[in-house]
Point group: C2
Chain length 195, copies 2
C-alpha cells in the first residue's frame, strides 16, 4: 500500500528533534482535528517562513531581511560583537535583553573529531568584519565544552595582532542554581574564580 498523506506528514514530524513516531502521530491527529484553528495557520506560518526568512549576510542571524534587524539597528553598538555558535544562542542572549551590541554567528565550532576547520565556520567573515569595521571588542559566548574552548583559543590567537579586545562570558554558579545539583566542574570553576 502506498504511503498515505497522513503517513507522510507523520513521518516528517517524527524527524523533528524531540519527536518520535508516537508523538508525531498525536501531533498530526491533533492538527487534523483542529484544521481551522491550527492546521491552516501552521501551513500559512510555514509558507511565510519559507518565503521570507534568510540568513543575514553580515552576522549569520536568521531574519526576514538582509541585513537582519539587529545589524540594521543604529541604536546598537557596532563596535562590540558577541560571538555565538548558533542562532539559538543568539536568541537566548536576545531574550536576556542584557546585550546591546551586535552578533556574529559561527555556525558551528572547530572540531578535530568532526573535522570542522575555520573555513567551514564563518571565521573568515569575522576577520573581514574586524579588519574593515571599527570593532573594539569580541565577546566569546561559546559553550563551555572542549570544542567551545578550542574555538575560543583559536579566535584569541587569530586576532591577537589586531586592535580588538577579546573577552568571554563569566563562568560560575547559575542564578538560582542549587549547589547540590551542579556538576563538579562548575563548582571547581566557581571556586577558582571567586571574588
Amino acid at each position: 500500500m502506498p504511503e498515505t498523506e497522513i503517513d507522510t506528514l507523520i513521518r516528517l514530524f517524527s524527524r523533528l528533534p524531540g519527536f518520535g513516531v508516537r508523538s508525531a502521530r498525536r501531533a498530526v491527529l491533533h492538527l487534523i482535528k483542529k484544521k481551522e484553528t491550527q492546521l491552516l495557520p501552521l501551513s500559512a506560518a510555514i509558507q511565510n517562513v519559507i518565503d521570507n526568512i534568510c540568513v543575514c549576510s553580515v552576522c549569520g542571524n536568521l531574519d526576514s531581511g538582509d541585513p537582519c534587524h539587529i545589524c540594521r539597528d543604529q541604536r546598537r553598538d557596532e563596535g562590540v560583537l558577541c560571538i555565538v555558535q548558533d542562532v539559538a544562542d543568539l536568541w537566548a542572549i536576545e531574550r536576556s535583553a542584557a546585550f546591546k551590541g551586535r552578533y556574529h554567528v559561527l555556525g558551528g565550532l572547530l572540531s578535530a573529531i568532526e573535522g570542522t576547520g575555520p573555513e567551514e565556520l564563518r571565521l573568515p567573515a569575522l576577520e573581514k568584519r574586524v579588519r574593515e569595521h571599527n570593532i573594539s571588542e569580541l565577546i566569546l559566548a561559546l559553550p563551555a565544552t572542549v570544542d567551545g574552548q578550542t574555538t575560543g583559543h583559536y579566535i584569541a590567537e587569530r586576532f591577537k595582532n589586531l586592535p580588538v579586545r577579546i573577552s568571554s562570558l563569566a563562568q560560575g554558579i547559575p542564578i538560582g542554581g542549587e549547589l547540590d545539583y551542579l556538576d563538579d566542574g562548575t563548582i571547581q570553576t566557581a571556586l577558582k574564580a571567586r571574588k
Copy 2:
C-alpha cells in the same frame, strides 16, 4: 515589536501536544536550517493533508476519500464493527493487523462531568448503521476508564433489542508486561478473569 515570522511559527508549534516553547524553538530552527530536505517537504505534506483528508461519513475515520479505504474494502467483513473512541485507536488496531472487520469512531465518550451526551457522539449514526445494514457484532474497544465503561454499558443497553451481539476487548496483563509494574486494578481484573 510585531511578532516575526519565526516567532509565529514557534508559537503555533508550541501549541502541539507534547511541545513547549523550548522544544518548539528547537524544531523550528532545525526546520529552517534544513529548508530543502525538511521544511519544504513538510509544507507540501501539510498542504496535501489540508486538500485531501476528510472524515469518512460512514465510520468517522480520517482518510483521503469518503467512504474511507477501510469502508470501501470489500474483503473486510461488513458485519462486524469495532467501536472506538478516536481515530488514534482505529490506527492502533489497524497496526496490530488483527482485525478484519470495519470500524465506527464515536469521536469521544459519554461523560457526565464534561456533559457529553449520546447526540454529541456518533451514536445515532451507529444505530442507523446497525438498523440498516446486516451487522452481526459490535466489538467495544473502549478505554478501561469510568467514561469508557459508561459508554460501553450505554451501547449495550441501547442495542439490546436489536439482533446484534456485543462483545468487549479482553482485559488482563499486557503481553510482555512485568507484574511488578502493573497497577492494582489490572492485576485484580486479570485474577478474576483467570482461565
